[in-house]
Amino acid sequence: MSFLQPLISGILTGGVYALAGIGMSLVFGVMNISNFAHGDLMMLGMYLAFFAFTLLHIDPYISLVLIIPISFFFGYMMERIFINKVIHHPHQNQILLTIGLGLIMSNTALLAFTSDPKILTTTYSSSAFNPFGDVSVSVPLLLSFLITCAITIILYFFLSKTSTGMALRATSQNREAAQLMGINVAKMSAIAFGIGTALAATAGALIAPTYYIHPLAGHTFLLKAFTICVLGGLGSVVGAGVGGIIIGVVEAMSSTYLSSDWKDVIVFVIFLAVLLLRPQGLFGKKGGQ
């Protein structure tokens, strides 16, 4: 097997991880909260895509048109009802609150959808093509990657060109100063959490055709999203994008050259190494820890 194969599938999977990481990083940047419910929000996205496909017969990629607004609204309300109550609390209380919300989501899903994993099989789920020789590229992964790129570009322009986007970035840079400039930081927090949720759910929907859909699937993705954020520097959206690709490639490489059992261990060892050697992340500001 050539070296290109794990590299390409790693980059494609990493793109979707990046989307989840960007969502978490945005929430962290604007609200200074580590969202431990992020993985479970991804899981909700997976189920939304699954039910859109099985009940409404909508293709998972097209169902994003529904999933993005629904999950944005869900996240927006979640911030308004729960998260903003603890925005000035110590970090540990914020973490515990989001852990609690995550447990409620995953276990409600467990009661409602049972623990049997669901599989979303589209006509192209297992199709692949060979662009260069023996390297095969999975069609659903490539589609997911392209959609990820499109969403990231839209998000980039939203953050840099629109007034709401600039207000979000201002809040992220300095909450107090932003408030003094007349920005409604409470509203910005809710919007950031809504976007973060929408990105998580989108990432969930995008991997739904290639993964098992399970109520507890969020757990694995939560820790991956954290690794990506820390790697890129907590709060750095660009860093999370690059971090996602790196983690995707590392995973694919370690499954190919070591064993797939150890790939998660390697990801966490990288995570700890980054914390130890460069806690501000690859793109973070110094002294940010």
Partner: protein, 331 residues
């Protein structure tokens, strides 16, 4: 004086309790779970409550104790007490490695790093062969002196002993130099450092103490249940249960974790054994054959984690200082 009298009555009550209720294995089992959770949460409280360092990965130390003891007893049939001691050493090594990584960090990073260490331990145990991997370890026979280890009574006293030791250490710490240093670190790390407190050293000291006690409980748990796997002793859920117990009772108080365990363990047991569903059906509120009745019978037993989630959210929003926080005078 009053306090000492109260404590003596409490201790005597705890020691005599098994004699009063006799050999009812079900009740003893719940009592053991309560003592274990109280002790685990108290041990966590030394680091989380007094030093203010919320570890989200205490399952790693529990699992370290449980796995070390189970492996040594099953493979080499060593004296369990010796195995427990080795478990403490293993947990301490993991704690030292963790401490050297995580105590350089603050806030978000500390919590994340403690989870990552615990996950590395969990996944490694899952992937190694000598740990039994996903199958776990089954212990068929174990002997210590003339104790009847098939009975639950020795484990009741074992857990009680660890709880008393943990509470005594906590009580002593509160009024010792180390304890004051830890509380200073909790209140303001920079101020503590500027007063000449070696914050790195004292945080590690608290972590080591906490990890060692946690590993003893893990060892006892393994010997008591005689079966362990990663989902029972190394899961993130266990770490969260430990924290939640302390939060509900009151973080940074001596008795908070005990009160938390007295409330949470029976609640979890009631949900697990479906007592609430049965009660509703028996009371005639819900028909057994109706949809709701079937749902209660079939699914509610799995709902105890959901209830934990709801309690966590309510507790953080409305009772962040725990039950004991309600009775404390406002400063």
């Amino acid at each position: 004086m009053k306090q000492i009298a109260f404590l003596s009555v409490l201790a005597a009550g705890a020691v005599l309790l098994p004699l009063v209720i006799g050999e009812n294995p079900y009740v003893i089992g719940i009592l053991i779970s309560m003592l274990m959770m109280a002790a685990l949460s108290s041990a966590w409280n030394i680091l989380g409550g007094y030093a203010g360092q919320y570890s989200f990965g205490h399952a790693a130390y529990f699992g370290a104790g449980a796995y070390t003891t189970m492996i040594l007893v099953t493979l080499y049939n060593l004296n369990p007490l010796f195995c427990i001691a080795v478990g403490i050493v293993v947990a301490s090594i993991i704690a030292l490695i963790t401490g050297s990584i995580v105590f350089r960090l603050r806030g978000h990073y500390f919590g994340l790093a403690s989870i990552a260490v615990a996950e590395v331990v969990r996944l490694s145990v899952l992937n190694f062969n000598f740990t039994g991997g996903a199958q776990g370890i089954l212990l068929t026979d174990v002997a210590l002196w003339n104790l009847d280890l098939n009975s639950k009574i020795p484990f009741y006293y074992g857990m009680l002993l660890v709880l008393v030791v943990t509470l005594s250490i906590t009580a002593y710490l509160r009024r010792s130099k180390t304890g004051y240093y830890l509380q200073a670190i909790r209140e303001d790390q920079d101020a503590a450092a500027s007063l000449g407190i070696n914050i790195y050293f004292y945080k590690n000291k608290a972590l080591l103490l906490s990890a060692a006690l946690t590993s003893v409980l893990g060892s006892l748990y393994g010997l008591y249940i005689r079966f362990i796997d990663t989902s029972a002793v190394l899961d993130l859920r266990l770490s969260i249960e430990i924290i939640l117990t302390a939060i509900i009772g009151g973080v940074g108080t001596l008795w908070g974790p005990v009160i938390g365990a007295l409330l949470l363990v029976p609640l979890a047991e009631m949900l697990r054994s479906n007592l609430i569903g049965d009660m509703l059906i028996k009371a005639g509120l819900v028909s057994e054959t109706s949809g709701v009745g079937l749902f209660l019978k079939g699914s509610l037993a799995n709902a105890h984690v959901l209830v934990y989630g709801i309690i966590t959210v309510l507790c953080i929003l409305y009772l962040p200082k725990g039950i004991l926080g309600l009775f404390r005078r406002k400063k």
